[in-house]
Symmetry: C2
Amino acid sequence: MPTQLFDRIVLGDRLALAKAITLVESQNIEHQQEANKLVSEALKLNKAALRIGITGAPGVGKSTFINNFGSWLVNEKQRRVCVLAIDPSSQKNHGSILGDKTRMETLSMLEDVFIRPSPTSGTLGGVARKTRETILLCEAAGYDTILIETVGVGQSEYLADSLVDCLLLLLLPNAGDDLQAIKRGIMELADLIVLTKSDVTEPAIYNQAISDVANALNFIPNKFEGWTPKVSNYSMHNKEDVAEIWKGLEKFIGHQKSKGHFETKRKAQKIEWLNEAIKGKLESSFFEDADHKNALKNALSELENGAKSLEDIAAKLIDDWRK
Amino acid sequence: MPTQLFDRIVLGDRLALAKAITLVESQNIEHQQEANKLVSEALKLNKAALRIGITGAPGVGKSTFINNFGSWLVNEKQRRVCVLAIDPSSQKNHGSILGDKTRMETLSMLEDVFIRPSPTSGTLGGVARKTRETILLCEAAGYDTILIETVGVGQSEYLADSLVDCLLLLLLPNAGDDLQAIKRGIMELADLIVLTKSDVTEPAIYNQAISDVANALNFIPNKFEGWTPKVSNYSMHNKEDVAEIWKGLEKFIGHQKSKGHFETKRKAQKIEWLNEAIKGKLESSFFEDADHKNALKNALSELENGAKSLEDIAAKLIDDWRK
């Protein structure tokens, strides 16, 4: 069954792709096994797309940007574009509330585009792993550009950066926004920076913001040797802006490839993926081990009466389990 | 050495307490061993303080609130107050940038108060564990009220809630703020809600906000059976407001104790603490195992050529390690 499904994915059947991603996201053991097979097949194909992360604070205009940027890539560059979203912060309400598709109207009407709303949430490691696997499936389906949108709160930017080749940070043209990004260490993660809303901002304020950000970058350590993020301006009404941003992105990727950073980062991401899987499996093997339920209960009372340190209790439980 | 240090902690020596917390936060193995002993001693004392989490979006006025609330508790209720901060989102820049103490001037001048700025950052699990252990040490030092401030982005509210007896959510009196809290599932986590800035808000707008929030709560499932969060108003200039909030908090704790929720939550938190320690130890035992470095390398090439699924590779690595 999975092989048939995989063949349909490779032929570009969007329904098959959507179904496969649902398998990846499922908690059901059988679904997971099917998903694992599909992902292995996808790995063999080795069709690496360009992976771009797009982040920024709520209200900065991520969806509009992705709508315009994605449509331009399809229309002007004949690229096949896939949009994924990660939102590890919404732990209780599963999935995103606003339908991503409704906010990306132009893009979602195009033929060569696949949009997948936020996956069901979970631990950071879980979201990372499922997104990695979804990327591989989208690549197998022939998409050559993966845009990953993150909500821009908490640790989602770190997560996004661990999944992509290039992280694009959108900032509002006011001092508060760049200060927040500096404070939270997000500025250091950015490979490219875009100041949005140039069409609705006083030119003097906008230009000041551009030079403030460029200036701030001088005080931040370079993420990659020899690369300082370009600060681009952007109005949702100006196609030239998108063309310029794309040029900057191509320049960045060229730099990364020529210095070997591109391959190094991709390899590190694969190792991270393997490590996440190992961590998940270690935990599930340990905690699902039925013989262990009693030992955990005893450990808890040992912990409560202070007879042994937490560390010693944990070490002994693991030693016993390994035997 | 640790025992001497522990005796000083119990006698209320703030320097000794600060030193012990530094040991808890240290990555150094010897420091960790000393910290483990101190924490075991603290567990034996079993001096549980009231643990209160305080969360809210940036700009809502958390520090001013804690400054006033904490000072009131010391002056009017003769409580000994400890303020801790958790900020798992600042992954790159270790520690908080703004010194918490400078934003809590009145409070930090009081005798019966201990303020500890954000701990060095790390994984969510790591921050949780270190904070749990810090709480135990503060309790051993005789503090009977622990206030835990979180920056209110990402998953920090979930983390805070897993550490405290009561989570107090501060909201700004505008529709945007409560909508965000609902969207992100934070409203569902709140045990008490405080609308800040009543002194600088138009009364009509403020009262509307109060009733909007109270109304929104009707559509949210109760976190604890039989308890709907009270919505309190608050101005930083009105001591009566603090007294009212404290009354609401006492009522909540009374409800929790009478229904058995208080003990159940505390117990679940201890189990969570044990589980975090087990997870940490599982990972460190596996990844630090020198024999395993080669196996991981081989696994990576198996993964790359798609010969085996990620899941099978991880399972085999763990089986080999357990033998």
